[in-house]
C-alpha cells in the first residue's frame, strides 16, 4: 500500500477506535483528557483510562517495533525545543479541554461548534509556528 492509503486506513482505525469507546463505555477518546484524568484521578474513572493508555502505547509501539521501516527516529532535534513544545502541549490541551483526538476526531464527529473553533485555532497556530521555525528562524 502506498502512504496515502496507509494514512487513510490508519485514520479509519482511529475513527473506529473512538466510535467503539463511545458506543461501549460512553467515554470520549480524547488522549489529553485521558492523560489528565490519570494525573488527577476521580474515583471510578482511573482504571479505564489506564487500560486505554496501555492499549494505545502497547499496540502502537508493537507496530513500530515489528514492521520494518515503520519507526525512523529523527536525528539531532533540539531537546530544549522538545521540552518547550511538551509544556505548551500539556498546558494548552488542559486549558482548551482537548487535543487532536478529543476536539478533532471526536468533537468534529459529533458536530460540536466548540471543537470546530478549537481545531481551526490549533491548526492555524501550528501552521504559523511551523512556518516561522522552517522559513524565518
Amino acid at each position: 500500500m502506498n502512504s496515502w492509503m496507509m494514512a487513510l486506513a490508519g485514520g479509519v482505525l482511529i475513527g473506529i477506535a473512538a466510535t467503539l469507546l463511545l458506543w461501549l463505555t460512553g467515554r470520549i477518546a480524547g488522549i489529553s483528557g485521558i492523560v489528565g484524568g490519570v494525573l488527577m484521578p476521580r474515583s471510578g474513572e482511573l482504571a479505564w483510562r489506564v487500560a486505554f493508555l496501555v492499549g494505545l502505547i502497547g499496540a502502537g509501539a508493537a507496530y513500530l517495533w515489528l514492521v520494518p521501516g515503520a519507526y525512523s527516529p529523527r536525528q539531532g532535534f533540539s531537546p530544549l525545543l522538545l521540552v518547550m513544545a511538551g509544556v505548551l502541549v500539556g498546558f494548552g490541551t488542559r486549558m482548551g479541554n482537548g487535543c487532536t483526538s478529543g476536539h478533532g476526531v471526536c468533537g468534529l464527529g459529533r458536530l460540536s461548534m466548540r471543537s470546530f473553533a478549537a481545531v481551526l485555532t490549533f491548526m492555524a497556530t501550528a501552521i504559523a509556528t511551523t512556518y516561522v521555525v522552517r522559513h524565518l528562524a
Binding site: W23, G55, G109
Partner: protein
C-alpha cells in the same frame, strides 16, 4: 458493576487507536511538520488520516448517540460546554504552537514512549509538567476569586 468490561473495552479501543496512529504515520514528527508546512515542502498524506478518522466518527457517532445509553455504562459522558470562550481558544492556540514546534500531539508522543524514542522521553515528561502547571494555576485562580 461493569467496571472490568469498561476497562476491557477501553483497552481494545486504545489498542486500535494506537495501531491507527502507527499505521497512518502520525507517530513520525517529520511527517507532521511536513503536513503543517503548507507554505513550504507540503506533505498532504496526513489529510487522509484526519479525513479517514473524522469521516468515520461523523458517520458512526450519530448512530451511537441515538441510543439512550452506551452498552456498558449508564450514560454518555459528553461535555455539555457550549460557549466558544477565551480558555478554549487560548488553550487551543498554545497547543498548536507546541504541536508546530516539535511535531508531536499527545497520542503519538505516548506511542513514542513505548519504543523508547529519545524525543518522547523529553517531550512526554514536559507535557505532564505542562498539565500539572495548568492545574496549579487554575486552582490558584479559583482560590483567589
Amino acid at each position: 458493576m461493569s467496571t472490568s468490561r469498561i476497562s476491557l473495552a477501553a483497552m481494545v479501543s486504545g489498542a486500535l487507536f494506537g495501531l491507527g496512529l502507527a499505521v497512518s504515520g502520525m507517530t513520525d514528527p517529520q511527517r507532521i511538520l511536513g503536513f503543517l508546512d503548507v507554505f513550504g515542502d507540503f506533505n498532504p498524506t496526513l489529510m487522509f488520516v484526519l479525513g479517514g478518522a473524522v469521516g468515520t466518527t461523523m458517520l458512526l457517532f450519530r448512530f451511537v448517540l441515538r441510543r439512550p445509553t452506551p452498552v456498558f455504562a449508564e450514560r454518555f459522558q459528553i461535555s455539555d460546554l457550549r460557549s466558544i470562550d477565551r480558555p478554549l481558544l487560548a488553550g487551543a492556540a498554545l497547543f498548536g504552537i507546541g504541536w508546530g514546534l516539535a511535531g508531536y500531539c499527545p497520542g503519538p508522543a505516548l506511542v513514542g514512549l513505548g519504543v523508547l524514542s529519545p524525543e518522547a522521553l523529553w517531550f512526554v515528561p514536559a507535557m505532564v509538567v505542562g498539565m500539572l502547571l495548568h492545574k496549579l494555576i487554575s486552582r490558584r485562580n479559583v482560590g483567589a476569586a
